[in-house]
Subunit: 142 residues, 2 copies
Amino acid sequence: MAYAEQYIDKLRKSGLRPTKQRIKICEVLFDADKTFHFTIKELVKIIENQANIKVSLATVYNTVHAFIKKGYLKEIPLNSSQSYYDTNVTHHHHFFDEEDNKLIDIDQDDVDEINIRKKIPGKKIRSVEVIAKIVSDNQSQK
Amino acid sequence: MAYAEQYIDKLRKSGLRPTKQRIKICEVLFDADKTFHFTIKELVKIIENQANIKVSLATVYNTVHAFIKKGYLKEIPLNSSQSYYDTNVTHHHHFFDEEDNKLIDIDQDDVDEINIRKKIPGKKIRSVEVIAKIVSDNQSQK
DNA sequence: TCAACAGTTTAGAACTATTTTAATGTAATT
DNA sequence: AATTACATTAAAATAGTTCTAAACTGTTGA
């Protein structure tokens, strides 16, 4: 397992010791060649299905938050009862399908650069995100 | 009180009967010439301070949600433990100050029109919002 | 005026996501 | 192997939000 090195490295850089549970979390999050969106609940379910390792919610929350702090994961701002996370940490945007409660990536290239002309004294912009909410287009069905 | 008519109208259009409590909520939300951001907790506190009317959380939640459904209020997407609402229902964007947990409006005019080139079949865009997270600019202080 | 009814309000309970706690377990280092 | 420092865990705590069921209010019509 050549990936394991990477995971241990990521964990160490996040200030976490590489344990069985945490390496399993890394496998789920970083093994795929695709990036994806998830909630904590979903992540726990995936781990339970894929492995015979018990992981408590607390461990998952702690690990996910350490990765966010380090920049290995992103939190997606959404007014939903639960938080959504993204393994795609490149600069990009999102559709949120309000009917299916699904997130869809929008590449940075698909949106013109966003230039905000308003400035706040003493503050700098850390991130800019676009959320486009989408619903069924009934017009086109008629 | 000339405004009362408007409030009663808004309530009726939202499918709610105009009661003392609900009219009070309207007074707080729609009386000011300025728009503002609030959380449910803050709204309850304002009502308690301004009036001798008891309002339960349940009534406030129900009324706020009825107004959102009708488009008289907007929910602001933010990954925060509590929901933020906006009496400004025009198309605009936000700064979110991560240190003070404060929202600041950005006029639509201060951001170039956002053109998303990616399309999702059968879906249409209902809203597009920009959230720019800001923090202290330590660079400029050094 | 009064009874009946439909819709409201309310306190408190329930629910859900998240965080904390504190006891037990484990990895790393000597 | 012993020590130490950190991890894991279940369970409890917390906080925002939603639900519930009982009491209440105001309107209508006789």
